[in-house]
Symmetry: C2
Subunit: 342 residues, 2 copies
DNA sequence: GTGAAAGCGCTAACAC
DNA sequence: GTGTTAGCGCTTTCAC
């Protein structure tokens, strides 16, 4: 790495000034066309490649986007990354991806490191810890340093920031309404971790929908879960062990649903006849389990794409903050499709 | 971003030379302890943060690792990234993650861009296209530029390179042997895309194991698939439509297995009694489907960790090439656990 | 049409 | 104990 060929080396070789080489390589019209070609060809031949770091220093622009996410093991986050890459690769950007494991200290550390590296902007989906304890100083610091920040999914307050989110409330509403239409009388909800926006929004959608159809939210039918199948298993067991059993379940995500599905089948209830199931996220495997799972798609890839576009517009001088809320889509499959409508 | 506070600004403020500030911030013992503290506190207060780009230029070291992977939508790749981060975050590194979608042109483009950014090394899992057509000039170019390259999973030839892989052959052998032990007589294989090392190795493991137990590989029982559940569905249908039906299936990965499982259940065969199933990768959902899937774990996270260690040892001056081959582990679950052993 | 020089932010060798 | 200077690789303004 220390031996990379530089513009100076080429200058020595051609017995000219570094600036001439620079101009030649950038196809500057004022350089003699022949020398230009000769230099370009030679540079290519010996594998010269501009050192972008020096350009970053010079132009105060690193052509890199920082991405901070709480986890990378779910479809949602990887689809976001795919969306970001799809738009930003052609635009010449690289992605610095940082995974916080929902840990605030790490998030803070990464935010600082990305700033130290002078990335052009940071897209962030806040960690659970940051959320739970409203720890926002690191974000405020970044903003005061005028580092452009774009929030994805979770954001720290309603004030004037750039953000791209899905309308989780609406998605949850659609899912619950669908279960009502399928004739479910006792619709349970597997409620995501407390303090997380998506959990709250999805619960609210469930709640408001039930109310709208003149039903009460029964606390016994709402169980707390983490975002994992294990957690869905536990919750489903506790649901099926109690007096009032559900005939429909809307879960905070698909993984949880898979866990619940396993328990339901083990106990010989029929899906969707005895218990109808709807999840959230529409992960790729949902369509291909032994019972295809109904799910709300939150357009994960689109979040990435939209975020990328927002970022590019900021790079092009758009200083006004923008907020995008994407529409979720209910995908009905076997796990909730009943033939007898209510 | 253009307004970031620099060492020069601090020098102006304290009416001293930039080098004094630099030394103070780096806790240089020769600077007066009081001025040192004063400067440090003030710098912290106004949110000064060293510009790492200038350091990269100076030290010829960017504290960044480039990561090139063919896809990011499977558990395997995300687990690798988790492994890399687990080791490299504490060491102060950032990851530039690039997804090629199995496309050679993109891979080449990214490799070059990472070199332009002078990342300290590049970890790469080659794209299918690169593999299929043995397109290695970009790799050779990177090596000739003395950019450290570490191969993960797929690598381009057996020569002297750094690499971390799993023993796919052995994993496949274990899976097949297990099916034999479970009494399966006609073991089918869902063979991954041609030209991909993992497909070949897994097929070879299957093949060699059958031979070892005195059985023939029946071409009718080997079906070609892609790495998707859809593909598993098709292949399973074609298997079950033919004269000779399998009583055991070893699939190139778990997604494919899920697809196959769906078809098998739809046709009312019992798992594992009629048909036993073993997949590969041990994705998190495998344990939690309605029928828990047996699978070979390729220690994905460990690949990331080992790669990170290899990288760090290279940064510490280890110039000899290292090759690591991780041991796979067969995880037996419902889909293949029969009570009557052969 | 080409060269010389300054500067992006920082550190380190060398003064004093 | 602190200042001065040069330099990492590049572009760009100003000369000529």
């Amino acid at each position: 790495m220390g031996n990379a060929v530089s513009i100076k080396d080429l200058a020595r070789k051609f017995k000219c000034a570094p600036s001439t080489i620079s101009r030649a390589l950038n196809d500057h019209p004022m350089i003699n066309i022949d020398t230009r070609k000769t230099i370009q060809e030679y540079a290519h031949k010996i594998g010269y490649q501009k050192n972008t770091i020096s350009l970053s220093l010079l132009n105060k622009c690193s052509k890199t986007l920082g991405v901070i996410i709480p986890s990378i093991s779910h479809y949602h986050e990887t689809a976001i990354i795919e969306g970001l890459e799809a738009i930003l690769q052609p635009a010449g950007y690289l992605l610095n991806i940082c995974v916080t494991n929902e840990c605030h200290a790490l998030e803070k550390e990464y935010l600082n490191r990305l700033y130290a590296n002078r990335v052009d902007a940071i897209c962030i989906s806040l960690s659970q810890e940051t959320f739970d304890h409203s720890l926002n100083e690191h974000i405020d610091l970044a903003i005061s340093r005028s580092m452009p920040i774009i929030f994805m999914d979770r954001f720290y307050h309603e004030s004037d920031v750039d953000r791209v989110i899905t309308d989780d409330f609406k998605g949850a509403f659609l899912a619950t309404e669908h279960l009502i239409h399928m004739g479910c009388q006792r619709i349970a909800h597997l409620h995501g971790p407390k303090g997380i926006t998506v959990s709250q929004q999805r619960f609210r959608g469930y709640q408001v929908c039930l109310k709208k159809y003149g039903r009460e939210v029964d606390d016994e039918l709402v169980k707390q879960v983490m975002f994992s199948p294990e957690s869905g298993i536990e919750a489903a067991k506790s649901l099926l062990d109690q007096e009032i059993k559900p005939d429909g379940i809307f879960a905070v995500n698909d993984e949880v649903c898979f866990g619940a599905m396993k328990v339901i089948q083990e106990r010989n209830y029929k899906i969707p006849e005895d218990i109808a199931l709807v999840g959230f996220d529409d992960i790729p495997l949902s369509a291909f389990g032994p019972i295809a799972l109904s799910s709300v798609s939150r357009k994960s890839k689109k979040i990435g794409e939209q975020t990328a576009h927002l970022f590019l517009s900021k790079m092009n001088g758009m200083h006004q903050h923008q907020q995008f809320t994407l529409e979720p889509e209910l995908i009905v499959r076997e796990s909730s499709q009943r033939n007898h409508y209510s």
